[in-house]
Amino acid sequence: MRDLIERLRDADPMPEVERLSAEDRREADALLHRLTSEPVPAASPPRRPRIRGLALAAGVAAVLALVFAAVSLLDDEPGGPGVVERAVAATTDKAAIYHTVALERLIGADVSAGAPGREAIFESWNAPDGSTHQKTFKVRDGRRGQLLSEAAGRLHPKTRGRFAGPVQIYDPRTNRIQHTRFGRSGKGTSLALNPSVDPGKSLRALQAQGRLRFDGTARVGGREAYRLVSGPVPGFAKGRTESYEYFVDSQTYYPLLIRYRVASGSDKPLELSIRYLVYERLPFDRQHSQLLKLDRHPGAAEYDRDGRRLNP
């Protein structure tokens, strides 16, 4: 019995296609002439990492979660997410840090063109006091590769739709740290998880409210998972609808996988898949609180939000 690859080789419908006829050669010469007549770009602009789209999406996802936290705490609508959030926040262990490592994949019209498998590893540490530290990495063999971006700060709501609190953003390409503040966002009804509170309690509360419903079981990474789904809900931005699909550990109710879809008018829907490799609670003690700070970056130039250099 011949090897499958060998048999497949014999099944090549065009085994001679690499042999060029005289006409093929003329075509090739003409193409070569056309191409080498093209002006050469004077200097290539610095290439941005291919992962930019996903890094952005990971940032968007993180911001969505953070935005939800801030907005929810301000939301007085009866039965709205603010009520759930307040209830969960009230019972969340204040001495906890929630640590996540997630493989995020983005599929959608905006960023996936020509590059299937846009993905990044997103790692975060979040405490109930609003402290947050986030890192985005390239994926290498399914693990954390090169650092793409890092941010650390403390988020708390100030006025409706506006956040307060400083944040430092580190760009490893330029070795620069930007000191700035969290931005603002509109009110929303997102079902994104607040990463600063117990995820199991949040999800149970949303389920009890009927905003997520149980839709069977599945196995995710070898673990039994419950599938919780939302219908389409109004998104954060005007005219957008979102839907959520959570696969949660049947024992802890911590998320194992989230599929988040957002649609806007006639645009192709965007899907973000977040596969949690780690979702754990750490004690908020002296040692672990260091995890909420930006890593040390020797030699990094620091700038304030107006672009003034802060360190010599």
């Binding site: 690859i5 497949l8 014999d10 090549d12 090739a28 191409l35």
Partner: protein, 171 residues
């Protein structure tokens, strides 16, 4: 014009034009293949400094993305399936022709990723290391992908009876 740059490009073009053309022709129609080859080498010309010494896997990777972009805007993806399923069988013996037809039909039913892995190795003669570079993954990951693609192709072959001589003639 930088003569060294042009010479480098000409050398690469001469060396790999036929292979890139073959890559495109096996995956799309003749017209679209011509566009694909032109666009692939245009990318190479503009980004010559990014082209690695072993240029062929890199060029295949560019061609693959060019084809993917084409497919999004046109219905050309059907061309590959037609090519795989509808070509006249080649071989001196009828049983060999039957098997070739069955293999191409089974290949056409696989996912694009599986098909690409098998075609790069079987039809384009790339080693697993070079094929991995063409699809942009590690050698190990490609090895796993190829192994699974083979299994799935075998499963497809087991599921489908060999075409009869009549069906081969009809295609």
């Amino acid at each position: 014009m930088d003569p060294t740059r042009t010479q480098r490009f000409e050398q690469m073009f001469t060396e790999h034009y036929a292979a890139v053309r073959g890559y495109a022709l096996r995956r799309t129609s003749a017209d679209a293949a011509q566009d694909t080859v032109a666009e692939t080498f245009l990318v190479a010309w503009r980004r010559l400094d990014d082209v690695p010494p072993d240029a062929l896997p890199w060029l295949f990777g560019v061609a693959r993305r060019v084809l993917a972009n084409q497919r999004r805007s046109t219905a050309r993806s059907a061309a590959l399936e037609q090519r795989l399923a509808g070509t006249t069988a080649i071989g001196s013996h009828e049983d060999r022709a039957d098997e070739a037809e069955a293999l191409r039909a089974a290949l056409g039913r696989l996912s694009e990723s599986d098909r690409e892995a098998l075609m790069l190795v079987a039809w384009h003669g790339l080693s697993t290391a070079r094929a991995a570079r063409a699809v942009g993954c590690t050698r190990t990951a490609f090895g796993v992908r190829l192994h699974r693609a083979r299994r799935r192709l075998e499963a497809q072959l087991g599921r489908q009876p060999l075409p009869t001589a009549a069906s081969v003639e009809a295609s």
